[in-house]
Amino acid sequence: MKTILEYQEEFKKQRITPLNLLEDCLKNIDPSLNAYITVTEDLAKKGLGKNVEGKLKGIPIAIKDNINIKGIPTSCASNVLKGFISTFSATVIERIEKNGGIFIGKTNLDEFGMGSSTERSYYGPTKNPFDLTKVPGGSSGGSAAAVACGSAIISLGSDTGGSVRQPASYCGLVGLKPTYGRVSRYGLVAFGSSLDQIGIIGRNAEDVGVLLEVIAGYDPKDSTSSEKEIDDYSNLNTIPKDIKIGIPEEYFKQIDPEVHSSVIKIKKTLEKEGISFKSVSLPTTNYIIPTYQVISYAEASSNLARYDGVRYGLRKEGEDFHDTIRKSRDEGFLPEVKRRILIGSFVLSSEAIAEYYERADLIRRLITQEFNKVLKEVDCLLTPATPTPAFPIGERTDDPIRMHVPDRMTAGANLAGLPAVVAPAGMIGKLPIGYQLIGKPFDEKKLLSVVRLVEKIAPFKGFLKEVKDG
């Protein structure tokens, strides 16, 4: 199992060629997993042909199919975008291309990122590589499965309420949701714009740092991106000894006891390394899911209004414009997306906005204040990544409330705009589970350094299918 930097060494020494690596990855694409909506072999080979030097030279990267690559379909796993081909590339895609990275395919997701299982895709569910009867998590389940099965070295996902971290946890990977504004959203198809952030799913902290270094930083095309300088995220060798980590008690309630003990094991391992811990409390934790639902649904109802069949995508002719739009949207969206659009429209309606949207916005501020207050006392927070390991396919598809349960661990970081990383904490049976670190704004390097430290002292080998090195 090589890191991205190790592959660069191998290429230099000509022990492997980028083409060998790409071919290995292509071989590892497992159709039974349904991780990809579009495999972009030609695009990847064309990318190799350009022979661009850089940190990501020749590294096959999988891209969630809600991030635009020029000339390639962007489906968002929705029938409403049938036949739509991107006319431009996302800023992250351009930055990866400039650094020599290549794109192996567009990965499956819950339609428009709305889900926690990658079951709600027009293109069918993605399966967990560790157990084909289980979900890979979602909504970036395709991006997680693609890396876990060795068909991509690393991948991009998007995280609105945990959509990068929860699948990383279910698939035994490192998943990072950067600080809101750290990575440009330009070219990411919006779900909940104030919560969305492009994230990374990789096999180790260093790889994630390498890719973050490439994609992070100010973008004039995204007014919400930060002008703050980026860090050398791939340099994780300084061991963070003097840091203090908070344990928020609310995150250890209502969780699987084995998840609980695995995360506590991580805590004990770090304590041995001299890192100190402190119990802290975040009483607003119980409000995270409803607050997240109201805000993300409200924004989604507006963000998805553009899919009207007028300019692109699916169009079903009706009697007049309003009828055409009704029919196109009715056939275009799956039930969960419709449910969220309806609720989102309701919470913004003049009779409900004060009770729902405005109240949620207020509670969001309280949640943010509470995080920031606690993060003055400690450097970051340690929590479980998910309350349980991956659940069975089909178990929660008819139960939106239960489907949202994992968000309780992850959506707080989205509401508060904080960086958070998930990494392997162990196995329960044959299923991996993860721990989560939530940090101060722009503290990605510190979070990744802690993950790196855990990797060094408690390496979780044997999780992944080995990529055959040619």
Binding site: T74, A90, D222, V310
Partner: protein, 462 residues
């Protein structure tokens, strides 16, 4: 039906004079081939984000300042959600609860009209309806607009038009907007109500699709009549959109079905709050030229009549010249007369204020006559010579020497014995006749004041 009081408020949408659109780099133009000035952002493709045009913000601030508004250092963009084929994102980015400017006022015919708010927003695309199909031109999609909203301070259709004309002039003179109505750069939506009860407003209707000032006057007058007729016959007004037909000059109520739309406004998450610092606002303030209405008030204070002040203040060239000459020689009333009677009738040509001032001074000092002054002015425009040179060349020096003038006067007396006798008998109006005769004989060079003084002396002797 004089007992009804009319109340009008107006929303104006003005297109800002920028090179590019509000949230993308597409050029703003008029009359280009359909869908030639479009990109992924103004077409609202999946994944795009808006990036605010700074020039548009500057012009919106400028508009706010010229309308005496308070400029808010922090304003917030919002989404107005509704479905329409010409609205590519399914929402319009506008400002709702926190506009960039509020609380302004302008004077219209001596009455203060309060400006409720000025806010920034994006234009929608243009639908073109053909017999069997509708086409959409997205060239207009995303063009920057400001919406200017008055309080209900306007009391008649004529005042509404007067307000619109002043507003249009301000936007044009400050280069905020081309404000050409025929190009949809300046559009107005008046709302109107009538009421008998003092201090109580009636139910208002909103008049749409007005493409000229004439249409504004006619539609509002027609709407006043329509509302009064309904009330007089015992009916009541329903809050509705009113359409106006240019052909019949009549207004009618549109179907009220779509009126209850709920726009579900909420803060635009893709744009952080718009923060403008005080320094920038002050910089923009100092770039604003004086407004015609402000100049007019100033000229009235200097002693000009309201009419004269209005004419000069409305012409930026004449105003500038007036003020420059004023700095050199003072005497605003005299300068205004020269500008109104002589300079403007020459078509307001380029002229040196120093030379103009010197000419006025020569007349005032009695060196040349007023008529000669007018001649000098004409010559100055044509030859660019100084008044001194012209006066010398044309021998226009005024004769003020009493011995010379007395000689001419005596000659006139001899030629007109009849008139002289009537003068002697006390017929005062003949003084003017003799002054005229002397002017004639001297080809206008005689100093009329000195001549009439001499005549009066003669008169006393007899």
């Amino acid at each position: 039906m004089a007992e009804y009081k009319t109340t009008i408020g107006i929303e104006v949408h003005a297109q800002l004079k920028t090179d590019t659109k509000l949230f993308c780099g597409c050029p703003v133009s008029f009359g280009d081939e359909a869908n030639s000035n479009v990109c992924s952002v103004c077409l609202g493709l999946p994944g795009v984000l808006p990036a605010l045009n700074k020039k548009a913000v500057e012009l919106a601030i400028k508009a706010g300042l010229t309308l005496n508004c308070e400029i808010h250092e922090k304003s917030i963009f919002a989404r107005k959600n509704y479905f329409y084929p010409d609205l590519p994102k399914g929402y319009q980015i506008t400002q709702y609860r926190f506009p960039i400017a509020t609380g302004g006022r302008i004077l219209v015919e001596g009455k203060e009209i309060r400006i409720k708010r000025v806010h920034l927003e994006e234009e929608s695309a243009k639908s073109i309806h053909e017999e069997n199909r509708s086409l959409i031109d997205y060239n207009r999609s995303g063009i920057p607009l400001i919406e200017i909203v008055t309080e209900p301070d306007i009391n008649s259709p004529d005042m509404a038009v007067a307000y619109l004309k002043i507003l249009q002039k301000i936007l044009q003179s400050q280069s905020i907007s081309g404000a050409v109505m025929a190009r949809a750069e300046f559009r107005c939506e008046p709302n109107i109500s009538v009421s008998k009860e003092e201090g109580k407003l009636g139910t208002r209707t909103e008049v749409k699709n007005l493409n000229s000032f004439k249409a504004v006057t006619k539609s509002l007058s027609s709407e006043v009549k329509r509302q009064i007729e309904i009330l007089e016959s015992g009916g009541s007004i329903t809050q509705a959109t009113i359409h106006y037909s240019e052909e019949t000059g009549k207004t009618w109520e549109a179907r009220t079905k779509e009126e209850s739309s709920d726009y579900r406004y909420f803060p635009e998450p893709d744009l952080p709050p718009l923060v403008v610092d005080k320094e920038w606002i002050e910089e923009i303030r100092s770039s604003i030229g004086e407004l015609p209405t402000e100049r007019k008030e100033k000229y009235i204070e200097l002693g000009l009549t309201a009419e004269d002040a209005k004419i000069i203040s409305n012409s930026p060239g004449s105003s500038r010249l007036f003020e420059e000459i004023l700095k050199i020689i003072g005497d605003p009333v005299e300068i205004s007369k020269w500008i109104l009677r002589d300079y403007m009738s020459l078509g307001q040509p380029d002229i040196s204020a120093e030379n103009f001032a010197e000419m006025i001074k020569m007349v005032a000092d009695g060196e040349i006559s007023r008529n000669a002054g007018a001649e000098v002015l004409k010559e100055m425009v044509e030859s660019k010579k100084t008044p001194e040179q012209i006066v010398k060349e044309k021998n226009l020096i005024q004769i003020s020497d009493s011995t010379t003038l007395e000689k001419v006067l005596l000659e006139v007396f001899e030629e007109c014995p009849g008139e002289l006798n009537r003068l002697k008998e006390g017929e005062k109006k003949l003084i003017g006749f003799f002054v005229g005769q002397v002017m004639k004989k001297t080809k206008g060079k005689a100093d009329p004041k000195e001549v009439s003084r001499l005549i009066s002396e003669y008169e006393k002797k007899y």
